[in-house]
Symmetry: C2
Subunit: 427 residues, 2 copies
């Protein structure tokens, strides 16, 4: 792992490697609601000063004021179909301004309160990315200037979500990219921790709006967090979790509106409290497609899924059953609900038989690294759902996750029953 071919490898070999031996270095990232107005930016400054008062060095990464990026995206959409790299490059120049405003303002607030601080824009650090405008990926971060600043006692304030190409054009990392920026900067600086401040106070065993007894988790393994994306997407962007896992960055998710500790993303071994199941995730974003009585010949799957792959339709769960007579097969799979129309058109074009679709489905997943060493977890899931008369349409599993597709109407019932059955209820 982390071989020379890793584009992020330079993160691990900064030209200068300064970190005060006696102080911890913390990257603090604040999301859009945390910097939504001047008052909240002042609040962020208080958070920063708390960390400094605790004896730590701090680097801050910020999102744009909430709503501002949407406004800028809307402007661009009004004037362009945004289909070419040239157009997306301009889009990036426009939408990256939201973060430029907040970093300047926070630096001003900190300076006014006696904390030497300076903004570094993506191109000033520089945070080098590829040139996939509007959804660029970070290649390398040159930590030299930031290390120098820290050594000189100047606190760097860095905009999330943005980078710069090799030939000096601004890029953005796509929605949620600010989390990824923060983790990448933490990796480049070898920070002791990356605190992601948001409007929720951590990762829960499941959605607290559905299960009032959902508990906040103190620790979650990176792999678990990735599987909990359907819950976690609201909390932490998937790419940032992947990057944290890859570079062993200790990430904490916590609320900028309370002083409670949040949820820490850690290595699997660090999840000390041995539990079978960590959480229950769900998704209402899928749709089911079932092909009936497809002639069961070799290559039938390729014939069906090839055209979908070509159109970049992301197929998730797949089940294939041979019929009783052995001559035909049923194939069921799921696609993102937003892609159902395109999928239907592609299947029709194949002209290989009858098919039905259903957008009213939900995917329920039980997740936990404990699954690796314990059996009977899947059996319990099927049993609980059966007791509630919930029909399972499709099953898929991974090493640390079991997912089932069910009728959407049973979503809450299924989650509550499973939450209780796996002993996740709090209080």
């Amino acid at each position: 792992m982390r071989s020379g071919s890793n584009p992020l490898s330079s993160l691990f070999f900064p030209k200068t490697a300064y970190k005060s031996p006696s102080m911890a270095l913390i990257v603090q990232k604040f999301g859009g609601t945390s910097v939504a107005n001047i008052e909240r930016i002042r609040n962020v400054a208080e958070r920063v000063k708390r960390e400094i008062a605790a004896g730590n060095q701090v680097v801050v990464v910020l999102s744009a004021m909430s709503g501002v990026t949407n406004q800028l995206v809307d402007y661009c959409g009004q004037v362009s179909p945004l289909l070419t790299p040239e157009a997306l490059a301009e889009y990036d120049a426009v939408v990256s301004t939201g973060e430029q405003v907040t970093v300047g303002l926070l630096a001003l607030v900190l300076q006014a309160q006696g904390v030497p601080a300076r903004s570094w824009l993506g191109w000033q650090v520089p945070i080098r990315s590829d040139d996939t405008f509007s959804k660029a990926r970070i290649d390398t971060i040159d930590a030299e200037a930031l290390h120098k600043a820290l050594k000189a006692g100047v606190l760097p304030v860095i905009p999330g979500f943005q980078g710069v190409t090799a030939d000096g054009r601004i890029t953005t990392l796509g929605r949620g990219g600010s989390d990824t920026s923060a983790v990448a900067i933490a990796a480049a600086l070898k920070a002791d921790r990356c605190d992601i401040y948001t409007d929720v106070d951590g990762v829960y065993t499941t959605d607290p709006r559905i299960v009032s007894k959902a508990r906040k988790l103190n620790k979650v393994a990176y792999e678990e967090m990735l599987e909990m994306a359907s819950l976690g997407a609201k909390v932490l962007q998937t790419r940032s979790v992947e990057m944290a896992m890859k570079h062993h960055v200790r990430v904490q998710v916590l609320s900028s509106f309370s002083f409670e500790p949040g949820t820490m993303l850690v290595e699997e071994e660090e999840v000390l409290e041995r539990r079978l199941i960590t959480g229950i995730a769900y998704s209402r974003g899928d749709a089911r497609v079932t092909l009936r009585e497809v002639p069961d010949s070799p290559g039938v799957a390729a014939k069906v899924f090839g055209p979908l792959a070509e159109q970049e339709i992301n197929v998730d769960m797949i089940v294939q059953n041979v019929n009783a007579d052995g001559k035909a097969t049923d194939i069921t799979f799921t696609v993102p609900r937003t892609e159902l129309d395109r999928t239907t058109a592609a299947i029709k074009a194949l002209n290989i038989g009858k098919f039905t679709t259903d957008a009213n489905v939900a995917k329920i997943s039980v997740i936990g690294v404990g699954m690796k060493t314990h059996s009977g977890i899947a059996q319990k899931m099927f049993q609980v759902l059966a007791e509630k008369n919930i029909n399972i349409l499709v099953i898929s599993t991974s090493e640390i996750k079991i997912s089932v597709l069910i009728d959407e109407a049973y979503t809450e019932l299924a989650i509550r029953a499973l939450h209780t059955a796996y002993g996740l209820d709090g209080e």
Copy 2:
């Protein structure tokens, strides 16, 4: 002139000097009201396409959407006293985003309409400035990238008002700096013309709100425009006129809301229509200070004006009269009205006698290069004002201007009488 020590000298020696021999190169600059919303940005694109259709090459310079810069300035003022270079550097990073948005959007509009276009931010061109953050001055403009773009058929869209320091920090040029940017870029590119689109349709013989018969001028000499700053400030920033004069840039001021030709700034020799007076300017921004019976000894003026200079209070008109007995002197001068309190304090501290101040004064100026070769112009001015019983408090003159200070209440009366007397009334 334009010796090697001129910091803008590199404008005249671009590394590459590309300009299509058969096409004229026009820099078009659009102000904040011209890009106030998406609809108006589309309107700007129409202007650009008209110029292209006429067979010209075009470079566009833009302001921020009107109101946006004020909002950003207000944010900064809310969180910082903005007193240090570090604070002003952050201020510049924040307020420069307004232009970054409009250049990206116009590039998108042009691309969507089939015109290859690309934004170049100040640091991308680069437009090098000194590091006087918030009111930086342009040092050099590297025209190489822009020349290459033009040669490749790509239209550059450049934000006004911004530059970058030698060590890569964003600067802004101060209010009205977008005009200066446009003229500097026109000089660097050796453009054939710099069209400044604004919300007025040119420079008038005087303020049309005061004199309904005021006429739009087809041509104004640079020197005249500088003297007409009190009118022109609303039209064209003084620094941009100085730069145009220095570098012989043909500047046209015209409206982005009509298709009438505007006013052209030209060399003095080019003002073909020989007229005695070009226009009548006025200013209500001054205050009068009179020191009475100051002992008339050598060095008294230095004693008075030294402390004001030290405090960077800009003294404009000065008159000194010796009293009848030859032992004492009266000194009258004007300062910006906003500096009157500081001036009063400074004079009091000198403890050299009685003094009076008057903030209710107006400065009326008649301006014209024709004055150089014609006499009797001042005499006519004094006569016209006397006929209207308007008392002249102070007189000052330059080669192409006569200014008088009068009671503010007579401002309109004086302007109207002079406008008629010098034959400037239209229709």
